[in-house]
């Protein structure tokens, strides 16, 4: 059982590093707002970052439950299918996709 002092030290470290990682780039970029390359990157980045998050989240799901790889891929297809077929309603797509995975993982 870790001591309370250790726990508080962890909390302080986690707070400081996370806030620094989130805040410092804004301070740096403020001086670069007019830079063509920064503006170009801000246009190009979102779709790619989201794709990377989607793939690594899928990888995390599969790593946690390797025998459910097929179910995870199936559930991704269900999520995307529902999203494109039913007018891009995020909550509906995420809800049905997650429900599909939960059912598949627990039923088989």
């Amino acid at each position: 059982m870790p001591s309370t002092a250790y726990l508080i030290a962890v909390l302080a470290i986690v707070f400081t590093i996370t806030i620094a990682l989130r805040a410092l780039p804004f301070a740096v970029l403020r001086t670069l707002r007019t830079s063509a390359i920064v503006r170009q990157l801000s246009v190009w980045m979102p779709v790619g970052i989201l794709a990377i998050l989607a793939v690594t989240a899928l990888h995390g799901t599969i790593a946690a439950e390797p025998r459910a790889t097929l179910y995870a891929l199936l559930a991704v297809a269900v999520t995307a299918g529902v999203h494109l077929a039913f007018g891009r309603r995020t909550i509906l797509s995420v809800g049905i996709g997650t429900a599909a995975y939960v059912v598949l993982v627990n039923a088989f």
Binding site: L11, A12, F26, I49, L53, V55, T56, T79
Partner: protein
């Protein structure tokens, strides 16, 4: 954080806040169950219950917090904890490029927006058209997400004793959310090069460094975009001017 700075359309703050809360629902589907998972894990690891809300307030970073539970339980040296935080959260460095912090004028609100800039907040915002973004909408979404996270953690702690085996597979909500948001950010054929470069980056990262795939993929992706920028600059400006 109840008084966000005036939006570009100040007369409509209330609907903006409502829109922000609505934005948060889809993210909440992933955040709330993960919060419950954090509370449960924390108790299973033999850590005090209050560490769940304390950690969720010290930092708002879901995947990191789940990762930290076992490290804290085994009293991992603080330097190793610091390094883990640095590597796992390093991706947030890249969010500054397109996170609309300039919309938020109030300094306190600005500080909170940065503090609560989680993946989901970045992602939900990135999938909104620029004209629909505003400070109240952004902050309402972030505060709502934070509430789901802390609330989920407390619920997890509360049911930790009663429920020996929680429903398996709920964490897939995170995966589904990012899938949907990627589809929404993919608005036109102009996005194809970025998506392909990201795909290549993440494929290489998963093969070379599966343990820190996200970190490697983001670094590779940025490097490839810089190369793309250098290439585009040499060609006639027609292609890049409208991007």
């Amino acid at each position: 954080m109840t008084a966000p700075a005036p939006a570009p359309v100040p007369a409509t703050r209330r609907p903006q806040i409502a829109a922000g809360v609505r934005d948060s629902f889809s993210a909440g589907l992933g955040i709330f169950p993960l919060g419950i998972a954090l509370g449960l894990l924390m108790l299973q690891a033999g850590l005090p219950w209050w560490l769940t809300p304390a950690l969720s307030l010290a930092t708002f970073a879901g995947s990191l917090e789940l990762l930290l539970v076992s490290m804290i339980a085994t009293v991992t040296p603080l330097a190793a904890v610091a390094l883990t935080v640095l590597v796992v959260n390093f991706r947030h460095v890249f969010y500054a490029f397109s996170f609309p912090l300039h919309l938020v004028k109030n300094p306190l609100a600005k500080a909170y927006a940065v503090y609560a800039m989680i993946d989901e907040a970045y992602a939900v915002n990135a999938s909104l058209p620029a004209a629909e973004r505003s400070a109240p909408r952004l902050l309402a979404m972030q505060i709502a997400c934070h509430t789901y996270w802390v609330g989920g953690g407390l619920v997890g702690v509360a049911i930790g004793v009663a429920l020996p085996a929680p429903v398996k597979g709920l964490e897939f909500a995170l995966c589904a959310l990012f899938t949907v948001l990627t589809l929404d950010a993919f608005r036109s054929r102009r996005e194809i090069p970025s998506a392909l470069l990201a795909g290549a980056s993440v494929a290489v990262a998963l093969v070379l460094t599966p343990g820190i795939a996200m970190f490697t993929a983001l670094l590779l992706f940025v490097a490839l975009l810089l190369a793309r920028h250098a290439l585009a600059a040499r060609r006639p400006a027609a292609e890049t001017a409208d991007a």
